[in-house]
C-alpha cells in the first residue's frame, strides 16, 4: 500500500458552535440543557416543523407532475422573486425597476459565500468590516472567498448594549468603498440591534463614505414577530436608491434548517447592471455546486405565493418569536427572584434567538460541568432552547456561576 499524500493532515478542531451539540449529545445527565446552536425548540424542547411547511410538503409530494430536474443555476425563479419581495417589500421600487438580482443559495452561509466570492472577483475593495463580535462562521466565509476581514466595534460589554460611538468611529475611518457586514436584525450572538434612529445615522455615514452594505438577514420575522419590522434596516438603505447586498436564510423563520434554503440579492443602480451581475453570479455558483437544491425552495415558494399559507406562516412565526420573548422575561424574572448579582436587564432588552449573557469562559465551563448546561464559550445562550420548565435550572446555574466561579 502506498503512503497517503495526506499523511501530514492533522485533525481540525471541532466547530465551536456545532461542537456544543456534539458534547451535549454525549452527556448522560437527565437535566442537561442544550443552549448552543440556534435552532428553535418548542416548550417541550422538541424541534418544530411548522404546520404550514408540512402542508406545503404534502402538496409537493402529492403532485405527481413534479419532477426532480436540475434547477437553473440561479435556482427556482418563483422562489427568487418572492424572496426579494419578502425582504425588500412588495412595492420596493428597486424590484419594480428590475434593479435587483436574486439567486437561490444554500441558506445564509451559502448566500454569504457566493456574495463574497462575487465581490472578491468584481469589486474594487477587497476588505470587509464585520461587527465585533459576530457569528463564528463569518470570518472564515469571507476569508475563503478571497476577502480580507477587519472588524468594527459593535458590542459594549459594560452596557451589554451597542457601542454606537465606537461603531460610527470605526466605520467613519474605513477606506471609502469598503464592504460592511450588517446584521439586519437580531444580531448574532449579542441580540443587540441599533434603533431606527441609529440605523438612519449608520446609513448616512455609510452612503457618504461610499461604504458597501452587505446585510445578513437570518431572522426576519423571528426577532420582533413582524416580517416588515425586521426588514426595516435593509429597506432604509434600499429606499435611498443606493446599492447593497442581502443574504437571506429560511433556516429559522421557516424552520427549514437542514434543507439549506436561502437567497442572495444584489440591489444595483440599473436593470442592465443587475443582468450583468447575475450572469457573473452564475460563474461563481457553477463550479461550487452547479445549481441549488430544489426541495426547500419549493416549500418556501409554495407558502409565499399563497395568501392563506403566507398568513398562516406569519402567525406561526409570531408564535415562535413570542415564545422566545416570554422566555427572556421568565429568565430575567427568575434571576431577579434569586437576587443574582448584576444587572440582567439586557436579557429582555436584547432581541432574537440569542442572549449574550456576559458570562465569561470560566463561568460557562462551570455551568457545563456542574449544571450540564451547553452553550458557546462566549456566553451566548439560545433562548429557543429554553422552556418554562428549564428556566429555573438555568437561573440556578447562572446564579451559582456568578457567585462562585471567577
Amino acid at each position: 500500500m502506498s503512503d497517503s499524500v495526506f499523511a501530514s493532515v492533522v485533525q481540525a478542531p471541532e466547530d465551536p458552535i456545532l461542537g456544543v451539540t456534539v458534547a451535549y449529545n454525549k452527556d448522560q445527565s437527565p437535566v442537561k440543557l442544550n443552549l448552543g446552536v440556534g435552532a428553535y425548540r418548542t416548550e417541550e424542547g422538541k424541534p418544530l416543523v411548522l404546520n404550514v411547511v408540512r402542508k406545503a410538503e404534502q402538496m409537493l409530494v402529492n403532485d405527481q407532475s413534479r419532477v426532480k430536474e436540475y434547477l437553473p443555476i440561479t435556482g427556482l425563479a418563483d422562489f427568487n422573486k418572492l424572496s426579494a419581495k419578502l425582504i425588500f417589500g412588495a412595492n420596493s421600487p428597486a424590484i419594480q425597476e428590475n434593479r435587483v438580482t436574486t439567486v437561490q443559495c444554500l441558506s445564509g452561509t451559502g448566500s454569504l459565500r457566493v456574495g463574497a466570492e462575487f465581490l472578491a472577483r468584481h469589486y474594487h475593495e477587497k476588505t470587509i468590516y464585520i461587527p465585533q463580535p459576530t457569528w463564528g462562521n463569518h470570518p472564515k466565509v469571507f476569508t475563503l472567498a478571497g476577502l480580507s476581514v477587519k472588524s468594527y466595534r459593535y458590542y459594549d460589554p459594560s452596557t451589554r448594549g451597542l457601542d454606537f460611538s465606537g461603531l460610527l468611529e470605526d466605520l467613519g475611518s474605513a477606506p471609502s468603498g469598503a464592504i460592511v457586514l450588517l446584521h439586519a436584525c437580531a444580531h448574532n450572538p449579542t441580540g443587540v440591534d441599533p434603533t431606527s434612529d441609529q440605523w438612519e445615522q449608520i446609513r448616512q455615514l455609510m452612503r457618504s463614505k461610499g461604504l458597501l452594505p452587505f446585510f445578513d438577514s437570518a431572522y426576519q420575522g423571528f426577532a420582533s414577530g413582524n416580517l416588515d419590522a425586521d426588514a426595516e434596516s435593509i429597506r432604509l438603505f434600499v429606499a435611498d436608491g443606493g446599492e447593497c447586498l442581502a443574504a437571506q436564510s429560511y433556516a429559522k423563520n421557516m424552520g427549514l434548517y437542514g434543507e439549506r434554503v436561502g437567497a442572495l440579492s444584489i440591489v444595483c443602480k440599473t436593470a442592465d447592471v443587475a443582468t450583468r451581475v447575475e450572469s457573473q453570479l452564475k460563474l461563481v455558483i457553477r463550479p461550487m455546486f452547479s445549481n441549488p437544491p430544489i426541495h426547500g425552495a419549493s416549500i418556501v415558494a409554495t407558502i409565499l405565493k399563497d395568501g392563506d399559507m403566507y398568513t398562516e406562516w406569519s402567525v406561526e412565526l409570531k408564535a415562535m418569536a413570542d415564545r422566545i420573548i416570554s422566555m427572556r422575561q421568565q429568565l430575567y424574572d427568575a434571576l431577579c427572584a434569586r437576587g443574582t448579582p448584576g444587572d440582567w436587564s439586557h436579557i429582555i432588552k436584547q432581541i432574537g434567538m440569542f442572549t449574550f449573557t456576559g458570562l465569561n469562559t470560566n463561568q460557562v465551563a462551570f455551568m457545563t460541568k456542574e449544571y450540564h448546561i451547553y452553550m458557546t464559550s462566549d456566553g451566548r445562550i439560545s433562548m429557543a432552547g429554553l422552556s418554562s420548565k428549564t428556566v429555573p435550572h438555568l437561573a440556578d446555574a447562572i446564579h451559582a456561576a456568578v457567585t462562585s466561579a471567577a
Binding site: 502506498s2 499523511a7 463580535p133 472588524s151 475611518s173 468603498g177 437542514g258 450583468r276 457553477r286
Partner: protein, 427 residues
C-alpha cells in the same frame, strides 16, 4: 480576531476623514462588470426551451428522459418521499452530512464487504452532488497538497476546469480521446501518465466518460493502475454514472475496485443525480481513502472545515431519500431494477441510432455510437455541423458534438438520424 481600524488617510485621494459627500451617490459599483459567457451546457437547454418549433429535440443536458421524452421520477424515489414526508424534522445535518447516507454510498463505490469500510479507513462526507464533491476535494487538495496540480483528461466535463480553477489548483491535461477512432488514445494517455512528475494528481472518470462515452477496458484499467503505482500518482475518481453505464453498479465500479486491489489510496466523488434521478436535490458524496482510521478521522474533520464556510451543512431531503431507499432491501431492489431499465433504454437507443444512420447509407462509420457507453455519445460532428443541426433541424446539443442519448426516443431517433445524416453526408 481581526484588527480594529487605524484611523487616518491611507493615501487614497478620497479618504479625507471628513463625513462629507466626497463620493457621489450615483456611483455604480458594478458598471465595469462584463456579461459572463453562457454556460455551454446549461445554455443549450435555455435555448431549447425558447424554441417554438414542434420538432425540436433536446439532446443537450445529461438528464434522463423516458421514451416519451419526459423526465422521470423513479418509483423507489416516490415511495421514499411518501415515507419521509410528514415524519421527520428538518434539523441541521452534521457538517459531514447524513451518516446513514454516506455509509450506504460508500458501500456502493467500495463494495459491501470492503475491508476499508470495516477498518474505517475512508474519510467521507455528504456533498452537493458531483460538483460539490469535486469542489470540496479540489479545495482540500489546495490546502493540504498546495504544490500539487491536477491532470484532467481531454476532453472532460467543462465544469471540471472551472472547479479546480476556482479552487486555485493549477491544471494540466492528459490525452484521452482519440478523434480518429472515436475511441481511447491509450498509448498517448499512458505516455502522459509516465511523463508526469511522480506523485501527480489525476482526475479519472470511473465509468461512462463525460462527454465521450469512451471508457478504458478492464485490461487497460489494470495497466493504468499499475503505472500509477510505479509513479506514485494520486487517483481521483469522478463517478457520476454508477449503474447508469452498464446497468450494473458493481460492474460500473470496476475501475475503482481495480485501483483498490492494487492498494491505491484514492479519492472519489459520487453523485445520485442521474442514477437515482435526484438531479435537483444535489446529493452526493466525497470520500478519501486513508492509511488508517486515525488519519480518516483527521481528513474528515478537515473536509468539514472546508464545507462549513461554504454552506455549513448539506441539504437533508435528498440524503433522506437515498438512505431510505438503500436502507430498505425491497426499495433497493426496486432501485436496481429501475437503474437497469434506464441503462437498457439508452443502450437500445444507441443501437437504434446507429442502425438508422447505417440504413440511410451514411458514408461514415457509426460504430462508436454503440461502442461508447453511458449517457453520452461523442458523435464526432464539428461545431459547424452542430450549428446546422440546431438552425435547420431544431436539434439542441453542445457544440462539441456530444449527444445526450437520454434525450433520444423511439419517437425522435429517426428524425435525429436523418438530420445527422444530412449535415454529415458530405464528409
Amino acid at each position: 480576531m481581526a484588527q480594529l481600524l487605524r484611523s487616518g488617510c491611507s493615501g487614497r485621494v478620497l479618504c479625507s476623514g471628513a463625513v462629507g459627500a466626497a463620493r457621489s451617490m450615483s456611483t455604480a459599483w458594478w458598471r465595469h462588470v462584463e456579461p459572463a459567457a453562457k454556460d455551454p451546457i446549461l445554455g443549450v437547454t435555455e435555448a431549447f426551451l425558447a424554441d417554438p418549433s414542434p420538432n425540436k429535440v433536446n439532446v443537450g443536458v445529461g438528464a434522463y428522459r423516458d421514451d416519451n421524452g419526459k423526465p422521470v421520477v423513479l418509483e423507489c424515489v416516490r415511495e421514499a418521499e411518501r415515507r419521509i414526508a410528514g415524519n421527520l424534522n428538518m434539523e441541521y445535518l452534521p457538517m459531514g452530512g447524513s451518516v446513514n447516507m454516506v455509509e450506504e454510498t460508500l458501500k456502493l463505490a467500495y463494495g459491501e464487504n470492503s475491508d476499508l469500510l470495516k477498518d474505517k479507513r475512508i474519510a467521507a462526507v455528504q456533498a452537493l452532488s458531483g460538483t460539490g464533491a469535486c469542489r470540496l476535494f479540489a479545495d482540500f487538495q489546495k490546502r493540504f497538497s498546495p504544490d500539487s496540480q491536477i491532470y484532467i483528461p481531454v476532453p472532460t466535463w467543462a465544469n471540471h476546469h472551472n472547479i479546480w480553477r476556482d479552487a486555485h489548483v493549477p491544471q494540466r491535461t492528459f490525452h484521452y480521446y482519440h478523434p480518429q477512432s472515436r475511441g481511447l488514445d491509450f498509448a498517448s494517455m499512458m505516455d502522459d501518465i509516465k511523463n508526469a512528475p511522480n506523485g501527480s494528481f489525476f482526475l479519472l472518470h470511473a465509468c461512462a466518460h463525460n462527454p465521450t462515452g469512451v471508457d478504458p477496458s478492464e485490461e487497460q484499467w489494470r495497466e493504468i493502475s499499475h503505472q500509477f503505482k510505479v509513479k506514485g500518482h494520486f487517483a481521483f475518481f469522478d463517478m457520476a454514472y454508477q449503474g447508469f453505464a452498464s446497468g450494473d453498479p458493481e460492474r460500473d465500479a470496476k475501475s475503482i475496485r481495480i485501483f483498490l486491489e492494487d492498494g491505491h489510496l484514492i479519492g472519489c466523488a459520487q453523485s445520485y443525480a442521474k442514477n437515482m434521478g435526484l438531479y435537483g436535490q444535489r446529493v452526493g458524496c466525497l470520500s478519501v481513502v486513508c492509511e488508517d482510521e486515525k488519519q480518516a478521522v483527521a481528513v474528515k474533520s478537515q473536509l468539514q472545515q472546508l464545507a462549513r464556510p461554504m454552506y455549513s451543512n448539506p441539504p437533508v431531503h435528498g440524503a433522506l431519500i437515498v438512505s431510505t431507499i438503500l436502507g430498505d432491501p425491497d426499495l433497493k431492489k426496486l432501485w436496481l431494477k429501475e437503474v437497469k431499465g434506464m441503462a437498457d433504454r439508452i443502450i437500445g437507443m444507441r443501437t437504434a441510432l446507429r442502425e438508422n444512420l447505417e440504413k440511410l447509407g451514411s458514408p461514415l462509420s457509426w460504430e462508436h455510437v454503440t461502442k461508447q457507453i453511458g449517457m453520452f455519445c461523442y458523435s464526432g460532428m464539428t461545431p459547424e455541423q452542430v450549428d446546422r443541426l440546431t438552425k435547420e433541424y431544431h436539434i439542441y446539443m453542445t457544440r462539441n458534438g456530444r449527444i445526450s442519448m437520454a434525450g433520444v426516443t423511439t419517437g425522435n431517433v429517426g428524425y435525429l438520424a436523418n438530420a445527422i445524416h444530412e449535415v454529415t453526408k458530405s464528409g
